[in-house]
């Protein structure tokens, strides 16, 4: 009898114990430099898809990559979804409207600070403390820093999944494909050395595996 009571108490305590967060955190970086800004309509499509995949208590933020991306001011829209389904739908609609507004009024930036954006994403997602953390980089991955910006910093990407989306080929890549492949390899190495996992999705029709829960 005593054993039964002890077992029951243990089960009760185990069920009441705080559980690890199960929610999802996604931070998307949009490259707005030069001609890549024209690709943003595709980014809007990805954002809408991501919104449809996210659920209550998940966190989603979209930020632009510009000259200096390590800044909260570059965050275009951010949301942590409510616990109630009706509120979640409302938040999703508002978020989609914000993004549409941004895409229609975006101005190209002269430089591309991808590292700063990733640092900002890591800080944001760590602060939110979500169960899983994903950084989406919608860019050609060609980093172009303004003089004086120091980005030779080691990243801390333990527990992060970094997905590069729509990595377009530059004109120079067509001349020498090794540049494109080298760029991809360099980012992969950098992310994996920092403890993160790396994926590239260029076919935007196959986004099903984007957020694997």
């Amino acid at each position: 009898m005593r054993a039964l009571i002890v077992t029951a108490i243990c089960v009760l305590l185990a069920s009441c114990a705080p559980q690890a967060p199960q929610n999802h955190g996604v931070y998307m970086l949009l490259d707005t430099s030069g001609t890549y800004a024209e690709e943003l309509t595709k980014a809007e499509q990805i954002i809408r898809y991501t919104l449809s995949r996210l659920d209550a208590t998940d966190t989603f933020a979209v930020a632009r990559i510009d000259t200096g991306s390590f800044s909260e001011r570059d965050i275009i829209a951010k949301v942590t979804f409510d616990d109630r389904p009706s509120a979640v739908n409302r938040q999703k609609r508002v978020f989609a409207e914000q993004i549409a507004e941004f895409v229609s009024s975006v101005e190209p930036s002269p430089y591309t600070d991808i590292t700063g954006g990733i640092l900002q994403a890591v800080e944001f997602l760590n602060e939110k403390g979500t169960g899983s953390r994903t950084i989406l980089i919608f860019s050609d991955l060609m980093e172009d820093l303004e003089e004086g910006y120091i980005r030779d910093i080691e990243l801390e990407l333990e527990g992060f999944e970094v997905i590069a989306l729509n990595v377009t080929k530059l004109r120079s890549d067509n001349v020498d494909p090794r540049e494109y492949l080298g760029r991809l390899d360099a980012w992969q190495a950098r992310v994996e050395e920092a403890g993160g996992t790396w994926r590239v999705i260029n076919d935007l029709d196959g986004l099903e595996g984007l957020l694997m829960r």
Binding site: S15, N23, D55, T57, P85, V88, N89, R93, A96
Partner: protein
């Protein structure tokens, strides 16, 4: 290591001889050991088998008692109900007996009175006959001349009198027919009342026949006759399967009910919070359904339709009626909540569909919305009706619980009987295995045994008592 001679063959042969010799010397001990082990195992299994058989018999006895007790209780309820019905019939009809008697007497009295008044009165003999006789007696000479005039007057008077008499007769006949016509509804009323009385008496008679049958069965149960036990066991099995089937349907209904309210429940308790690994919204929806089923049980108990909780059945009538109203009110409120949640579910679904369409880039208003009220109304209706439908789960549940005891008992008896048989067979198997092992042991020692037999035969022929005889 085993080579005790330079030749392996010789060594092997020597080893075989030594082993066989040792085995021969140990033969009796080994036989005793095998026999003792086999007997011990056989006895153990036999004891176990007997113990299981005894338990099985006790369980059978208990099952029989349980079955008879349940049957007695059920039969008492049936007989009680039949008596209640008879009581109702008798109270309803016999309480009106004096009124009926009075009505019949009045009707009969009225009929008698009308009948007496309707007796046909013979018409008075015509008065002119005497006048004719008087005229006939007048002498011819006395006044034949005046006779003609007299006769004419008489004729005139007679015609007039006849006309009046006929009128009076026709009027009287009309009155009589009228009275007879008045008697008709009284007759019909009497006929109807008597038919009703006859019907009630027939009903009482048929009920008394039913009660007789039930009492006979009750007597069989009280006396614990085998026939009664077998009838009860069979009906218990039927009840078990039928109630299990109905409960399965009820579980299906509860699941539909659950799916109706689980989604909108997330609006109230949150969609992601977990409790013991399960979504709190799901648990909340389940709790609502369980509370509804519990209220249904209490309602059925209060109505004395089921008897799962004797405490409720034993409550004073006033308290019981109060409990009926309380449980019904709670059920009504929960049903209303469910209808609201079902409506909310539909609203959420549309909201979600519109959001998905927007995110897909499609037009949110493409869906035809003019008929959506049908599904909304259907869901709300289901949300409201299902809690009341679940109330009736109490009836099959009671039957299931009662019949489950019998079914579990029967299954346990069957299992124990099989176990006893297996144990008995195992005991026998070990007994014969011991004998087989001894035979196999002797098979290895066939050479020394053959020699022993030959020697024994020779000693017997020489008159020397053999070893077995010496042992004796």
């Amino acid at each position: 290591m085993l080579g005790i001679t330079p030749s392996p063959f010789a060594s092997a042969l020597l080893w075989i001889v030594l082993v066989v010799l040792a085995a021969y010397l140990a033969r009796r001990t080994v036989h005793r050991a095998i026999r003792a082990s086999a007997n011990a195992l056989r006895r153990s299994f036999r004891v176990a088998s007997k113990a299981v058989t005894r338990s099985h018999e006790r369980l059978s006895e208990r099952n029989r008692d349980v079955l008879l007790a349940a049957g007695r209780e059920a039969k008492e309820r049936i007989v009680e109900r039949e008596f209640d019905r008879i009581n109702d019939t008798v109270r309803k009809d016999l309480s009106n007996y004096s009124a009926l008697h009075r009505a019949l007497s009045e009707s009969i009295e009225r009929i008698e009175k009308d009948h007496q008044q309707a007796v046909d009165v013979p018409p008075d003999p015509p008065g002119w006959v005497e006048a004719v006789e008087a005229v006939a007696k007048i002498d011819e000479r006395e006044g034949r001349i005046g006779v003609g005039n007299i006769l004419a007057d008489i004729h005139k008077s007679l015609v007039k009198a006849h006309k009046e008499a006929m009128n009076a007769y026709q009027q009287a006949s009309g009155e009589r027919h009228k009275l007879l016509r008045h008697m008709r509804p009284d007759w019909r009323r009497i006929q109807e009342k008597l038919a009703k009385v006859g019907k009630n008496v027939d009903s009482l008679l048929s009920r008394s026949v039913t009660i007789d049958r039930h009492m006979q069965e009750y007597e069989d149960i009280v006396k614990g006759r085998d026939r009664a036990v077998s009838v009860l066991a069979s009906s218990s099995l039927v009840n078990f399967f039928v109630s299990a089937f109905v409960l399965g349907i009820a579980i299906g209904g509860a699941m539909i009910n659950f799916s109706l309210i689980a989604r909108p429940m997330a609006e109230m308790v949150g969609g992601t919070s977990l409790m013991g690994g399960y979504r709190t919204a799901d648990i909340a929806a389940l709790v609502i359904i369980m509370v509804e089923i519990s209220m249904g049980l209490f309602l059925m108990e209060s109505l004395r339709i089921t008897r799962l909780f004797p405490v409720i059945g034993a409550l004073p009538d006033k308290m019981r009626v109060r409990m009926i109203w309380i449980t019904f009110t709670i059920l009504f409120m929960l049903a209303s909540v469910e209808a609201g949640l079902a409506y909310m579910r539909e609203v959420l679904l549309h909201d979600e569909l519109a959001t998905s369409a927007l995110l897909r880039g499609a037009d949110a208003a493409t869906a035809a919305t003019q008929y959506l009220w049908i599904t909304t109304a259907a869901q709300m209706g289901m949300g409201f009706v299902l809690p009341f439908a679940l109330v009736f789960v109490a009836i099959p549940l009671e039957t299931f619980v009662h019949s489950l005891r019998t079914v579990v008992g029967l299954v346990a008896v069957g299992a124990m009987r099989a176990l006893a048989l297996v144990l008995h067979l195992l005991g026998m198997a070990f007994h014969y295995l011991g004998a087989l092992l001894m035979q196999l042991y002797d098979l290895l020692l066939f050479v020394p045994l053959w020699i022993e037999e030959r020697l024994a035969g020779r000693e017997a022929a020489d008159g020397v008592p053999g070893r077995s005889e010496l042992q004796l």
